[in-house]
Symmetry: C2
Subunit: 583 residues, 2 copies
Amino acid sequence: MSARPENYPTHTLDHLEDPEHGIRVPVTRITQDPAPSGAENPPVTVYRTAGPGCAPEEGLAPLREDWIRGRGDVEAYTGRSRSLEDDGRSAVRRGEASAEWRGARREPLRGLEGRRVTQMHYARRGEITAEMRFVALREGCDVELVRSELAAGRAIIPANVNHPEAEPMIIGRAFLVKVNANIGNSAVTSSIAEEVAKLEWATRWGADTVMDLSTGDDIHTTREWILRNSPVPIGTVPIYQALEKVNGDANALTWEIFRDTVIEQCEQGVDYMTIHAGVLLRYVPLTANRVTGIVSRGGSILAGWCLARHRENFLYEHFDELCAIFARYDVSFSLGDGLRPGSLADANDAAQFAELDTLAELTARAWEHDVQVMVEGPGHVPLHLVRENVERQQELCHGAPFYTLGPLVTDIAPAYDHITSAIGATEIARYGTAMLCYVTPKEHLGLPDRDDVKTGVITYKIAAHAADVAKGHPGARDRDDALSRARFEFRWRDQFGLSLDPQLAEQYHDETLPAEPAKTAHFCSMCGPKFCSMRISQDIRDTYGDMPAQERIALEGMEAKSREFREQGGTVYLPSRSVPARP
Amino acid sequence: MSARPENYPTHTLDHLEDPEHGIRVPVTRITQDPAPSGAENPPVTVYRTAGPGCAPEEGLAPLREDWIRGRGDVEAYTGRSRSLEDDGRSAVRRGEASAEWRGARREPLRGLEGRRVTQMHYARRGEITAEMRFVALREGCDVELVRSELAAGRAIIPANVNHPEAEPMIIGRAFLVKVNANIGNSAVTSSIAEEVAKLEWATRWGADTVMDLSTGDDIHTTREWILRNSPVPIGTVPIYQALEKVNGDANALTWEIFRDTVIEQCEQGVDYMTIHAGVLLRYVPLTANRVTGIVSRGGSILAGWCLARHRENFLYEHFDELCAIFARYDVSFSLGDGLRPGSLADANDAAQFAELDTLAELTARAWEHDVQVMVEGPGHVPLHLVRENVERQQELCHGAPFYTLGPLVTDIAPAYDHITSAIGATEIARYGTAMLCYVTPKEHLGLPDRDDVKTGVITYKIAAHAADVAKGHPGARDRDDALSRARFEFRWRDQFGLSLDPQLAEQYHDETLPAEPAKTAHFCSMCGPKFCSMRISQDIRDTYGDMPAQERIALEGMEAKSREFREQGGTVYLPSRSVPARP
């Protein structure tokens, strides 16, 4: 099976190798043209997911299968019997799902009775798994950092034993900030083929995990196609499918129906699940006078259930049973923020922070079972209140990875909420959020199409990368510097090749200066051919560049500045003034 | 002449009136549908520029003419004689500019000999001008705040006496954050008609000022068309035209040619000019080993000039003469940051901060002439170094308004630099930057077209607004709250009408749910008709909303939470932890 198409002619699929352990990590190698002086510019290697292949009906090779079985603590078993109801009422009516998965089917695996097969469990026992080696190579860090962060709960590797196709990746604040893309059909629109195409597309542009939020027909079969084709961890919100099984009547939900749905998804290979166990009965009234009430779909299902039955949330009451299930498949919790604010007006309110207290309690309970946990965060938050969200979550949840949706920093720009939320996302990631859930231009308005998915992913790659740079993550700025050097040397093709979206950058350039020679020409459309600021800079460099800094500065009578220059080193001036409020 | 078309059927042009002083300030009135309960939703009034009319060949009415003449300190005079060389070599060759301005021509005005006619001058004398009343009404603040901020130099009203068409606006950190849009032809592409259309278009979407950065042919005539049609202040970079007059040979530039160009533009009505007087000879070597050298076009022209002649920058040496000229027309300085960083690698370096020291010195010198000043800032800056830029500028320049380009927080996303820069722009505005220069998706790649101008302006309206909200600017969140209420009540038309881009929001919505009834339907495409989180929230409100908060909370056994709720009020929890560096 061939790998996915490359994004640009200067890109090739390469691998980082750990031959001793049989590990090969895919990377994108971006070659560069030489400098005008003839000096070589070394290739730049960047993180990538190898991505789905070209034959969705076959699925991907089970990369992790030998690692999983090699640990000797799982068993294959017959599995829960499949029911057409798993695919919803229209499948029952038709007598079949509309696009049955016909690729390879494996018997599901689970941990042997009493065994915990989670990455956290191995990490806590001091064992280095192949998955840990894979992510250490991928992140360019020591494997011991991976192990210790997993053991402490500050990072997770979402890796269900039934999703051997996934290339291991890590989510934690000591590692690169990750991006999740949501896909999924809904009651209103879209097909299985479209969802698989969106998965391939989102991964191609850099999504690190994908959530399948399907709520319509063929929900089980859609997920099977997605999992068998996904090289990234897949997350779901199982309450969506459970609700389908009770014909959309939230009051009819039971723990048993929910548990059965969770097991169905564990056996399919879902890597992490959003569980809204923090929506407690006593928190529901706190939302009554909000401007936008409860905007989380899962949160409102459970609030409705609590309200109708006047009973405590069954997910909270059965949380330990859930942990026991997750521990046998290595499914990670994504503890849902069902009471997140849906507007600036509701940000950081009593309902939101009450739920966060409970999520912190649940984090500790999951860790008792060696189950991996991340915690979801908002939402809509004005910029000055964003930082508090991550610092409070990190403190209360003892560093469990934070996974936020945006947040959006204004409510007035529907159709541009990828931007309103990228602003908040960069801020929250800068202070320690480990993964960002993308927002597309269609947020609040409709379901994203292919273009929206791409725009959402790239916008969030920007946010994640800008946060990596701001955090001083080792090597994060290398690609920026390479692109800036290409810009200074008018290596246009390298500017495109090093960018997040080479085709679009080239297309925009060509709209103004379409001729092929322009790509190597020593000018651009901003200044035109007869004047060029870059050329003057080159003259300055030719004049002064080879002089030792001291001589260069002394030459122009810059003694004072020279001292400042030397004294500053890399350090920065940080006055403690803030902006006075309006008088 | 009719006003520009409205952006949406629920928008109308309205006016805030000060009949005593004959002042009418245009605003957009956005009407809303009633709530489902039948309760009225009051209209929302938002800041707007009335905008150019529909007949560009006539130009706008001279709104300010009586105010200017009424102060009795200006004289009309013959003015500098016009030369075809003002329009460049091809105009000379042809014997005419390509689209001569044929609308009304007024004799230029200037301050009487020895008189300073700047808004700062009146403010310092304690005089309230009509322009100050106009902006106070526009900003919804006391006119004394306007006067005192102008007098202190912390705000400017760019308002050349020869641009009476402009609706006065204020730039300062105590006021709404403003957005500038750049337009202008270049040596490579575009026409006068296109530039006037871009002006109308940028203003329609919310640009508060426009800079004409033309560098190609017909530079004088293009500017005349723009000024006569511009309801917003117009800024320029006069060195661009001066360079045209010496056939692009920077070494041939002289103070005399520059001064003549400045007077030409003062007489036309340019409201603020970028002057790169801080690019000193001794700073030039500091840029030699930068990754991207000097990226400011004006900065590199002057650095090249200094380098070639080995003399001090003539703009610095003649700065007081420039001040004397500006004082007679009320042209504001925009002190250019010719040494701004063009890449993350060069941010906050010795060259940049050396120039800022000089800009601070020049600010004080301009103030001695009662000339209004703002100071330009970068550029490309990693997020963690952004705040330092504005705090340092505010401190050194005694609160003179800061006007920044972005900054871009990563270099790796050409074609998305409206987004990379909006992230930095929001951060820098939050800490006190008064005006943001937009960046379009074509930045670094080519010249923006109509769509790019719109995308750039709206992206920057988001950044400016998010900063206003984060600063706690009075009333800034009102529009967010109104839109969020419309969202909660499924008033789709009001969600569109209250958004920054009503048409696009409606179009995106209609792509998924095109039928007209969907716009009032009580569901959306995210959850579909059979389940709706908003409906559950309404049930919660119906159950608890009318109870006093205390009873509501007590009901669910929330004594502890209730205390927290009461104690919190609007205050927030701010732990002092920061993210630990990677171990």
